[in-house]
Amino acid sequence: MNLVFAMTVGILFGLGVYQLLRRDLIKAAMGFALLFTAVNLLLLAVGAFDGTVPAYTDQTEQSSDPLVQALILTAIVVSFGSYALLLGLVNIVSTRFGTARTDDVNHLQN
C-alpha cells in the first residue's frame, strides 16, 4: 500500500509541476489542483496505515491515526478556497485581456 501511495504521490507531483509551468493560466491553475491533491495524499500516507481498525471504536487492536484525516479535511477546504479564488481571478483576467496565455497578460513589466 505504501508503495502504491508513494508512486501515486510522485506521479501527481510530476504532473502538477508540469502543468504549473505551462504558458496558460488555466492549465497552471489545474496544476495547483493536482499538486494540492498530491500533498493531501502525502498527509494521508503519514498516518493512515499504522492501524487496522477505525479510531475510537474498538480499542483491542491498533487503530489508525484520526488526526491526519482531520488535517486533510481542513487542507482540502483551504486549498479548494484558494483554487476557487484563483480561477475567479483568471476568469476576470481572461475577460479583460481576451486571453489566458501568460505571454499576453504582461502589463506588469519591470
Binding site: F36, L71, T74, V78, G81, L85, L89
Partner: protein
C-alpha cells in the same frame, strides 16, 4: 501551567466578528469604515492588555475548547508573540484610520472593510497560534484576503499582481504543507512546544532536517527574501494605500516570526540550526544588497518603499541568523520600529500620490506635488526618511545601533559593511524623493488637478510614534532584551504550554 486569558481570543476573533458586522452594513461604506476603525481600536487595546499581562505574569495561553495541549488547538501569547501582535494591531488600526480619510474607489467597495479585518484575523491568529497547522490556516486566511484586496485595487495592474502572488503564495503554502507532513511523520505532533520537547529530550528523528528545510522555504517565501522576492514589489505597489502600508510593514513579518520560532523553539539541535542560520545569513545579506539597489534605481515612489522593505527584512534576518540574545533583541527592535516607519512613509506617499493627476506615485509625475500640501507633511516625510536611514534622534537609529553592536560581537565584518552602505543608499534615495516631491516647483498640470485629498492624520500619528520611540527607546529595548532571554530559554515556553506533568502523557 500558564494562566488562561480570554483577551487573546478577543484580539484574534473580534476583527472577524467586526468583518461580519460590516457586511451587514452593505452599501454604507462610511459606516463600514467607522465600524472597522472601532474594531481596530478595541483589538489594539486588547493586544496591549495581553502584552501588559505578559510583562507582569509571564506567558498567557488560551485553550480552544478546553482541550489539554498537545491535543487541542492552543493560542499562546509569550513575549515574542505579544510584541509582534502589538506591532501588527497598531499598524492595522492606523491603516483603518487612513481608510476613513481615503478617497480611493476601492475603500468604498462593500467588502473592503470585511477583507481588511479578515486579513487582521489571519495575521494576529498566525502570530498567536501554538501549533503549525493552525498557523497554516491563519496564514491562508491572510493571503486570500490580501489577494482579494489587491485584485479590487484602483490600480488596474492590481489584478495581474494578485494572480502572480496567489500562484507564488500557493507554492509557499504547498511547501508549508509538505513541511507539516514531514514534521508530523517525524515527531507525531504539530504543537510547537511538544516538538521542542521531543527534540530536546531524544535523538533526532528521521525527516527532521527535511521538515526544517521545507518550513524555512515556506517562511522565506512569505516574507519575500532574495530568491523568492520577485512578487513583492509588484504586489505591494499595486495595492491600495492602506493595504500597502499593512502589507509592506507587518504582513511580511509573519514569515520572519515563523523563522524566529523555528530557530529558537522547533529546531534547536545543532545540525538543523546550522543549516537554517547559514541560509538566513547568506540570503539576508543578498536581500540587503538587492533591496537597496532596487529601491535606488526604481521609477515609482511606492515601489521604492516596497524594495526598501525587501532590504530591511534582510537586516532582521541577519539578527536572527547571528542568533545571540543581543542579536535577537536587536532583530525584534528592528522589526518593531521598521513596521512603524515603513507604514508611515507609505501612507505619506499615498497622500502625495492622491494629489497627482493620474493618482500614481510615478517619480516623473510627483515632482512638486508637495506644494499643495500643508507644510508639516514634508517635515513628516523627511523625519520618516531619516528614520529609515537610521539617523540619530529617530527610532531607526536605535534599531541600526543594536544590530551593528551585535554584528561587532559576532565579528561579521562583511555584512556590517554592507549594512552601513545600505544605510547611506537609503539616505540618498529618501532625500532625493523628498526634494523631488516637496522642494521642486510644481508643473502646471499638477497645480490644476482635481485631487482625491487623502487625510494625513494616520501617518502623522505613526511618525510621532517613531519620534517617541526614538527619544524614549529604553522601554522597547528592555522589553526586547527580556523577550530574547525568554526566547533563548525554550523550556520556559514548553513548560508554560504543556505543564510539568505532561512528560507523563504517553504517546504512540
Amino acid at each position: 501551567m500558564a494562566p488562561t486569558n480570554s483577551l487573546i481570543l478577543l484580539t484574534v476573533f473580534l476583527p472577524l466578528f467586526g468583518g461580519v458586522l460590516s457586511l451587514l452594513l452593505w452599501g454604507r461604506h462610511k459606516a463600514q469604515r467607522y465600524v472597522g476603525f472601532a474594531v481596530g481600536v478595541v483589538a489594539w487595546m486588547a493586544s496591549v492588555g495581553v502584552l501588559w499581562m505578559n510583562w507582569q505574569d509571564g506567558i498567557q495561553i488560551y485553550r480552544l475548547g478546553g482541550w489539554q495541549p498537545p491535543f487541542g488547538i492552543i493560542l499562546v501569547a509569550d513575549m515574542l508573540s505579544s510584541l509582534f501582535v502589538v506591532m501588527s494591531t497598531t499598524v492595522l488600526m492606523m491603516g483603518l484610520l487612513y481608510a476613513i480619510g481615503c478617497n480611493d474607489k476601492v475603500v468604498k467597495h462593500p467588502t473592503f472593510t470585511t477583507l481588511f479585518l479578515a486579513m487582521q484575523t489571519g495575521l494576529v491568529g498566525a502570530l498567536y497560534t501554538g501549533d503549525l497547522f493552525t498557523l497554516f490556516v491563519f496564514m491562508e486566511l491572510m493571503v486570500l484576503s490580501s489577494v482579494s484586496l489587491v485584485a479590487i485595487s484602483d490600480n488596474r495592474l492590481g489584478l495581474e499582481a494578485a494572480i502572480k502572488y496567489l500562484f507564488i503564495s500557493s507554492m509557499g503554502t504547498l511547501f508549508l504543507l509538505l513541511g507539516i507532513a514531514a514534521t508530523y511523520s517525524a515527531f507525531g505532533t504539530l504543537n510547537f512546544a511538544d516538538i521542542g520537547q521531543i527534540l530536546a529530550s531524544s535523538e533526532r528523528p528521521f525527516l527532521a532536517r527535511e521538515a526544517a528545510i521545507m518550513l524555512t522555504a515556506a517562511f522565506l517565501l512569505k516574507s519575500a527574501v532574495f530568491p523568492f522576492h520577485f512578487w513583492q514589489p509588484d504586489f505591494h505597489t499595486t495595492a491600495p494605500t492602506p493595504v500597502h502600508a499593512v502589507l509592506s510593514s507587518v504582513v511580511v513579518k509573519v514569515g520572519v516570526y515563523g523563522l524566529i520560532r523555528m530557530t529558537t523553539l522547533l529546531f534547536t539541535s545543532e545540525i538543523e540550526l546550522e543549516i537554517i542560520r547559514t541560509i538566513l545569513l547568506v540570503l539576508g545579506t543578498i536581500s540587503i544588497f538587492f533591496g537597496s539597489l532596487g529601491a535606488f534605481r526604481t521609477y515609482d515612489g511606492k515601489r521604492m518603499l516596497a524594495y526598501s522593505t525587501f532590504g530591511q527584512i534582510g537586516f532582521i534576518l541577519l539578527g536572527i541568523g547571528w542568533g545571540t540574545p543581543l542579536a535577537l533583541a536587536a532583530a525584534f527592535v528592528y522589526a518593531f520600529n521598521h513596521a512603524f516607519i515603513k507604514s508611515a512613509l507609505l501612507m505619506l506617499f499615498g497622500v502625495v500620490s492622491s494629489r497627482t493627476e493620474n493618482k500614481t506615485a510615478n517619480l516623473s509625475e510627483v515632482g512638486g506635488v508637495g506644494h499643495s500640501l500643508p507644510a508639516f507633511v514634508g517635515v513628516l516625510y523627511l523625519l520618516g526618511g531619516l528614520s529609515l536611514a537610521g539617523v540619530p534622534p529617530m527610532n531607526g537609529f536605535i534599531s541600526k545601533l543594536g544590530l551593528v553592536q551585535s554584528g561587532i560581537d559576532a565579528e561579521m565584518w562583511l555584512t556590517l559593511g554592507l549594512a552601513v552602505g545600505a544605510g547611506i543608499l537609503t539616505l540618498m534615495y529618501m532625500t532625493r524623493t523628498w526634494q523631488l516631491v516637496f522642494q521642486q516647483q510644481p508643473t502646471d498640470s499638477t497645480a490644476a488637478v482635481k485631487s482625491y485629498n487623502d487625510n494625513p492624520l494616520a501617518p502623522a500619528l505613526l511618525i510621532s510614534a517613531c519620534v517617541a520611540l526614538g527619544l524614549f527607546a529604553a522601554p522597547l529595548v528592555d522589553f526586547a532584551t527580556a523577550t530574547a532571554e525568554q526566547i533563548i530559554n525554550a523550556p520556559i515556553y514548553i513548560e508554560a504550554v504543556l505543564g510539568t506533568e505532561s512528560s507523563a502523557i504517553s504517546r504512540r
